[in-house]
Amino acid sequence: MRAPSGPDVAVGDVLLSVENVSLSFGGVKAVSDVSFDIRKGEIRAIIGPNGAGKTSMLNIINGFYQPQQGRITFKGQTRSKMRPHDAAHGGIARTFQNVALFRGMTALDNIMTGRTLKMHKNLFWQLLRFGPAMTEEVEHRHRVEEIIDFLKIQEIRRTPVGRLPYGLQKRVELGRALAMEPDLLLLDEPMAGMNLEEKEDMSRFVLDVNDHYGTTVALIEHDMGVVMDLSDRVVVLDHGIKIADGTPDEVKDNQGVVDAYLGVAH
C-alpha cells in the first residue's frame, strides 16, 4: 500500500526536526526559537495552553506558514522554509482545527481528492474517461474504499460533507489525509468537540494508523487523558516557547508544565 517517497528513514530515526524556529505576524510572536524532533513511527503530542503556538507550529511543518528564522529537516533534507508543495509531495498530510473539507463535494469525492498526487493520467485520457483514466479512477477508488472501511463511514459516502455532523466531518477529513498515504500525519485537535464514545473511536483510529501503516503521527490535543494514553513523546509549548519535552510521564510531573496550565503568572 505504501509507495516510497524520498529516502527511506528507519523506524526510530528522526523523521522531521525543527531547529530554532521563530515565527511572527507583524508584532505578534507566535513561535519563539523552538526546537524538537519527531521520530519515525512514533506518536508525538504537541500540547500547551491556548495561544501557545501549537497550530502555528503545525502550519510551519506543513508549509503553510514560513518561519522567519530556523530550519526544518525532513527525511534528511534541510530547508529554511517548507513550501506546501514540498510538504505534500514529501508525504506530510494533515487535518485542521476547523475542518477544512471541500463543502461542495461528497465525502467520497473529498477523500478521492487526497489521491490527486498519485493520479497521473493526463488531460487527453481525462477527456475520454473510458480506458486508462477509468482504470486509474477505479484503482484509486479501491484504495479509498479501504480507508472508508477503516473509518467506518460507508453510509455517508455520497453525502455532501456540508450536511454531515461534526464528528463525521472530522472522520472524513482524516480519511482525506490518509488517502495521501503520508509518512507524517499532522492532526490538529482531532478530538475537539467529541463526546467520550467518539473520542474512543478516534483514538483507536489514530493508534491503528500508527500500528498498521506505520504512519508517524504528530497531534495537537487538549484532552490530557488522550495525550497520556496515545503518545510516545510529548512537546509542551507555552506562549510560543518550548517548556518541556519528553515522555508523557516526564512531562506530567514537570512543574513548569503544571504552572502553564494552571495559569501561574510569569
Partner: protein
C-alpha cells in the same frame, strides 16, 4: 529601435514642447479622476458598512440623473426635482435593504456581489422603461451650476478650464470633508465604522444593521446623484455612463476598498494616467485605448501590490 523611441522618448518630448497642452491634459485627467473618485466613493461607503461590493453603483448614477431630469421634464422646478430625487434614492435604499440585503445576510460575499449584477440589470431595464433610452441633457443651468470657460494664458498658449469642472472639484472636496467629519464625529458615523469592523460585535451593542445599511445605501445614492449631475453637466445623461462608471473598479483596486482618501487618490491617478496615456501614447496604438487603459494600469499595480495603495494586507488563516 524606432518603436522604443516612440514609446519611451517621443511622448515626453511632446509633453515638453507644448506645456500648455500638457497642463490641459493634466487638468482633463484631474477632472475625470475626480468623477471616478466620486463613483468609487459610493462603492467604498457601501463596502465599508455592509461588505457588499455594489456593482450597481454606476447604474445608480445614471438612474439618479435620469430621475432628476425626468421630473424636470414634467414641469417640476429644478430644486424641487432635486429634493424629490433624493427621496427616490432613499426609497431605493430601503427597497434594496429590504428585498436584497436582508434575505442574503449570511451568504458569502461573492453571492452578494452577483446579486448586485441582478440589481444592475433590473435598474437598467427599469430606467429604460420609465425614462426611455435616449440621451438627455442635464439641467445644469436650472441648478445654478456655472457654465462657460476660463481661458488662462500659460506657457505661451492657452489652458481652458471649464467652470463646471472647477465647480465639480469644489463640490467633491466639500463632500469628502463632510463625509469624513460625519464618519468621525457623529453617532451614526461611529455606528457605521463599528458595522464595518464587525457585524456581530455591532449587533451585540445594539446597533441595528438594517438601519445602518439603509443609511449607507442612501448616502451612496446621494453620492450617485451628485456624480450624475456633475457628469451629466459635462457631457450628457445616457446609459453609456454606466459602463464608464465601471472604471471605478480600477480606482478601488488602487485605493483599496475601505479607504475614502484612497478612493480620491486612486481616482486622480487613474484619471490622469488615462488621459495622459490616451493623448500621448494613444496615437501609437490607435484611438480608444481609454476603454481599457485604466484596467491595465490597475492590473499591473495589482501584480506588485495586491492590496492596493491603502488597502490592508489580508492574512489568511486556516
Amino acid at each position: 529601435m524606432h518603436l522604443l523611441y516612440q514609446i519611451f522618448i517621443d511622448p515626453f518630448v511632446q509633453m515638453g514642447s507644448a506645456p500648455d497642452l500638457l497642463v490641459q491634459t493634466l487638468w482633463e485627467g484631474l477632472v475625470a479622476g475626480v468623477l471616478y473618485a466620486l463613483i468609487a466613493l459610493g462603492f467604498v461607503l457601501i463596502f465599508k458598512a455592509s461588505g457588499v461590493f455594489n456593482f450597481a453603483q454606476g447604474i445608480m448614477v445614471v438612474f439618479a440623473a435620469l430621475t432628476l431630469v425626468g421630473l424636470h421634464e414634467h414641469g417640476v422646478p429644478a430644486y424641487v426635482a432635486l429634493a424629490l430625487t433624493i427621496l427616490v434614492m432613499f426609497g431605493l435604499a430601503v427597497s434594496v435593504e429590504r428585498l436584497m440585503l436582508r434575505p442574503l445576510v449570511n451568504q458569502p460575499d461573492i453571492i452578494l456581489f452577483m446579486a448586485t449584477f441582478g440589481l444592475t440589470y433590473f435598474l437598467i431595464g427599469f430606467g429604460e422603461l420609465v425614462f426611455g433610452g435616449n440621451p438627455k441633457k442635464m439641467i445644469a443651468s436650472e441648478l445654478y451650476l456655472p457654465s462657460g470657460v476660463y481661458d488662462i494664458k500659460m506657457f505661451g498658449g492657452f489652458v481652458s478650464l471649464q467652470k463646471i469642472d472647477i465647480a465639480a472639484a469644489v463640490i467633491v472636496s466639500v463632500m469628502v470633508v463632510a463625509l469624513a467629519v460625519f464618519f468621525q464625529n457623529t453617532r451614526i458615523g461611529r455606528a457605521l465604522r463599528a458595522v464595518a469592523d464587525s457585524h456581530k460585535a455591532a449587533l451585540s451593542v445594539g446597533i441595528s444593521l438594517e438601519q445602518i445599511w439603509v443609511v449607507v445605501w442612501f448616502a451612496a445614492g446621494v453620492v450617485a446623484l451628485v456624480t450624475g449631475i456633475l457628469w451629466g453637466a459635462r457631457s450628457e445623461v445616457s446609459f453609456s455612463l454606466q459602463i464608464i462608471a465601471l472604471k471605478a473598479l480600477p480606482v478601488l483596486i488602487l485605493g483599496g476598498f475601505t479607504s475614502i482618501p484612497g478612493a480620491i487618490i486612486g481616482g486622480l491617478i487613474i484619471g490622469i494616467g488615462e488621459k495622459l496615456g490616451e493623448f500621448y501614447w494613444g496615437p501609437l496604438l490607435g484611438s480608444g485605448i481609454e476603454s481599457w487603459l485604466a484596467y491595465v494600469i490597475a492590473l499591473i499595480f495589482l501584480l506588485f501590490r495586491p492590496q492596493g495603495l491603502f488597502g490592508e494586507k489580508i492574512i489568511e488563516r486556516i
